[in-house]
């Protein structure tokens, strides 16, 4: 028996540290989640309604960025080293990017948490606060520390990606004729679209928001910074999701007792995500003035085609599970389902998160449909949707995966299998209640992102059920999720405090149809990156040009700002500045 810590003791420490960072973010973020459901429904209000938005910012940043991305870097480090059977070139360097991410995350978190103080400390001449939510739409302004922290965090992930790529290049030099192993292929394609898309948010922060928050420029163009956010903002959801897909493709078949049905299609799926993750971001802006209907329609077509890789994944992953079940004696059209290892929390957690992801697929299709956004845009429906995607498909897969990974990186067996099983079941149940009620409330017009969705002038009315019933479901769901989080954290802590013992081998699923059946062109990352770039230019150049032309590169001057720079002057000024150097 060989576990990851035996093969890669140094890397195992890094993977463990990144996972623990992820779990810390989960612990704090989930606590706010519980406070929020109790507050919104009016059951218990611990915070003031103004502080609700600070809590919501922390919930979004800690869970959607910190928890997910720390887990991702842990998983991809494991995937690269295990599948290439090769160490990272330098552990010092690797701890460097991990440290960069930690510093960035802490800066952003400090800026957010200062918002809870009645008298926040002053730094750089401004009060420390960042109650701007996860999307930080200007002209809402956060303290520069928040923007700087986010930028540093993202730069940390870029360096991590470089680290994995150079490990891969070194491997390629030694093995020029071998196909890239699937886990490495998945990690590398994911990093490629991450670099492309996060460039958008990096420009938004470094060129516009940070100088503006420091008072270097007077204003911003709110539609431009918003569009740059969504340039990154949809790709980031795939950045969260790809590690979960990776686990479904390479662990689930093995846990089921079978093999991955098709390696070639898995590669096709990841190539499609590389191509289409970014040129779809404007579908978050269907309801924005200032963007022509034609651009929105083009983006909808891209978005609808982005369903394809997920629909293919559904087939391949379920077929791989079926293969395992049939190898273990499963028969019938559906009776084989009973032969799956439902007592294993790793398997059950991932299978249930896949099931809820299928449901999320439906609400995602609605969200992608351009004009039907009038019905759902900025309603609680959206919150229901992404609690099924990032909140379950991603989070529950990561938690279930942790029951496999923590033993791998510590050499200590899982503390309690039953606790794990109860935990994943509670998460599933809690999310069914909570997200179902959120979707239905959204159809009644109940808005998202509000501390008190109770209005003086009107009430929300539905054909079936009442707001009271929906609120009760949300609170029940949120409570089950909080209990589930506690059981998860206890199980992880107890496992890490335990003694070393027997743990599963560090291996992943074999394939029924292997890489030898997939065309070599699939591994041509340069080609796919080039096509991805072309698609981004096609989708974004005209809308961005129109937005800058309408509102100016640095905005029309907002809120008491007198200096209005016409865009041509701004560009001229930039050119002079560049040439002058």
């Amino acid at each position: 028996m060989t576990s990851y810590i035996d093969q890669f003791p140094e890397e195992a420490r890094l993977v463990k540290a990144a996972m623990v960072s992820a779990f810390l973010a989960l612990a704090v973020g989930a606590t706010f989640g519980l406070l929020q459901v109790l507050h919104r429904t009016g059951m218990v209000r611990v915070l003031s309604s103004a502080d609700y938005y600070t809590a919501l910012t922390a919930h979004g940043v800690l869970l959607a960025l910190t928890f997910t991305i720390f887990f991702l870097v842990a998983l991809f480090t494991w995937g690269i080293t295990t599948s290439l059977d090769r160490n990272l070139p330098s552990m010092r360097f690797a701890w460097g990017w991990y440290g960069t991410m930690v510093v960035g995350a802490l800066m952003a978190v400090v800026a957010i948490f200062a918002g809870f103080l009645t008298e926040p400390p002053t730094l750089l001449g401004e009060e420390l606060s960042a109650s701007v939510l996860f999307t930080f739409y200007a002209p809402l302004q956060a303290h520069p520390l928040f923007y700087l922290g986010l930028a540093i965090f993202v730069i940390g992930t870029w360096i991590a990606g470089y680290d994995w790529f150079r490990t891969y290049w070194a491997w390629k030099r030694d093995n020029p004729d071998e196909r890239t192993p699937l886990p490495a292929f998945m990690a590398l394609t994911t990093m490629l679209f991450w670099w492309l898309s996060s460039a958008g948010v990096a420009i938004a922060i470094v060129v516009f928001l940070l100088p503006w928050s420091l008072g270097i420029v007077d204003s911003v163009n709110p539609l431009l910074t918003r569009t740059l956010f969504w340039f990154f903002g949809h790709a980031v959801v795939y950045f969260w999701l790809m590690p979960a897909y990776m686990l479904w493709y390479i662990l689930l078949p093995k846990l089921s007792g079978g093999k991955l049905f098709s390696d070639p299609l898995a590669r096709v799926v990841f190539v499609l995500f590389l191509l289409l993750s970014t040129p779809t971001g404007i579908h978050h802006q269907y309801m924005d003035p200032g963007i022509a209907e034609g651009f929105k329609f083009i983006v909808m077509v891209n978005t609808m085609f982005l369903l394809l890789p997920s629909l293919l994944t559904a087939f391949t992953v379920v077929a791989s599970m079926e293969h395992g079940a049939r190898q273990r004696g499963g028969t019938g059209k559906l009776r084989w389902l009973g032969k799956l290892p439902w007592r294993d929390p790793v398997f059950t957690g991932m299978a249930l998160s896949g099931l809820l992801f299928a449901a999320a697929g439906f609400s995602g299709m609605i969200n992608a449909g351009m004009n039907i956004n009038y019905l759902v845009h900025n309603t609680f429906w959206i919150v229901g949707h992404f609690h099924l995607t990032v909140g379950t498909a991603v989070a529950l897969t990561f938690m279930a995966g942790s029951y496999w990974f923590i033993p791998q990186v510590t050499g200590k067996p899982l503390w309690n299998r039953t606790a794990g099983l109860v935990q994943v079941l509670l998460w599933f149940l809690g999310m069914v209640f909570m997200s179902n009620a959120m979707h239905r409330a959204g159809l009644l017009g109940v808005p998202r992102r509000t501390a008190e969705p109770q209005y003086e002038n009107f009430a929300f009315e539905g054909a079936i059920g009442s707001v009271g019933e929906l609120d009760a479901q949300v609170v029940l769901g949120g409570t089950l999720l909080a209990i589930s989080t506690i059981i998860f954290l206890v199980t992880i802590v107890m496992t890490m405090l335990g003694d070393r013992g027997e743990v599963p081998d560090n291996s992943y699923a074999g394939t029924l149809s292997g890489p030898e059946h997939s065309p070599a062109i699939l591994d041509n990352l340069k080609l796919w990156t080039a096509i991805a770039l072309v698609l981004i230019v096609l989708a974004y150049s005209l809308p961005l040009a129109a937005i800058v032309q309408r509102g100016g590169l640095f905005g029309p001057g907002i809120d008491g700002i007198t200096r209005v720079l016409p865009p041509i002057d701004t560009i001229g000024g930039l050119v002079e500045w560049v040439v002058g150097r």
Partner: protein, 174 residues
């Protein structure tokens, strides 16, 4: 590539599904006449709304026999007109009318949503959201901001009254 027949069939079905979704949305545009918020509302200087022909004196204006224009400024934390609980006029239009809303913001990004209907748009400073709606029946609707805009966001609400034609007393100064 070695792809199983069932999986090829599923690939085909998935493509059919995608085309079917796009076709439905296209029907919504062409057949049902649903129009997207777009770039037709033009731009404004959010610092000088007082001098703007539309937003200098926002409110309801009759522009045709059954056609009305409603100019609304969204600010933290009210709609003008709209937020009657804050002392502004409610938005009041007659039934059987075609109403075009022009909505802009004087400060941060807001939302403009009439819950229980499909009237829903973002309100972005510098941009004017233009949306045309047909109100057939008399009814009193709520109006709310559905994009976080600051510490009192949850209190940003208002009223849209669609009154019977014979009770309608003209645009402003209701």
């Amino acid at each position: 590539m070695d792809i199983h027949t069932y999986e090829k069939a599923w690939l085909g079905a998935a493509l059919v599904l995608i085309v079917f979704f796009i076709a439905t949305v296209t029907y919504g545009t062409v057949g049902a006449g649903v129009e997207m918020i777009d770039d037709s509302g033009g731009t404004v200087d959010p610092n000088n709304l007082a001098d703007h022909e539309r937003f200098g004196d926002p409110g309801v204006e009759q522009v045709g026999e059954n056609e009305y224009e409603v100019n609304v400024i969204a600010s933290a934390f009210f709609f003008r007109p709209g937020s009657d609980q804050r002392g502004f006029d409610p938005i009041r239009v007659p039934a059987n009318s075609t109403v075009t809303f022009y909505v802009t913001s004087s400060d941060v990004i807001h939302g403009f949503s009439i819950p229980g209907t499909n009237v829903n748009t973002m309100v972005i400073p510098g941009e004017v959201a233009e949306l045309t709606v047909e109100f057939d029946e008399p009814e009193t609707y709520g109006l709310l901001c559905n994009e976080y805009c600051g510490f009192d966001h949850h209190n940003m609400e208002g009223t849209v009254e669609v009154v019977p034609e014979d009770q309608y007393d003209g645009g402003d100064g209701q």
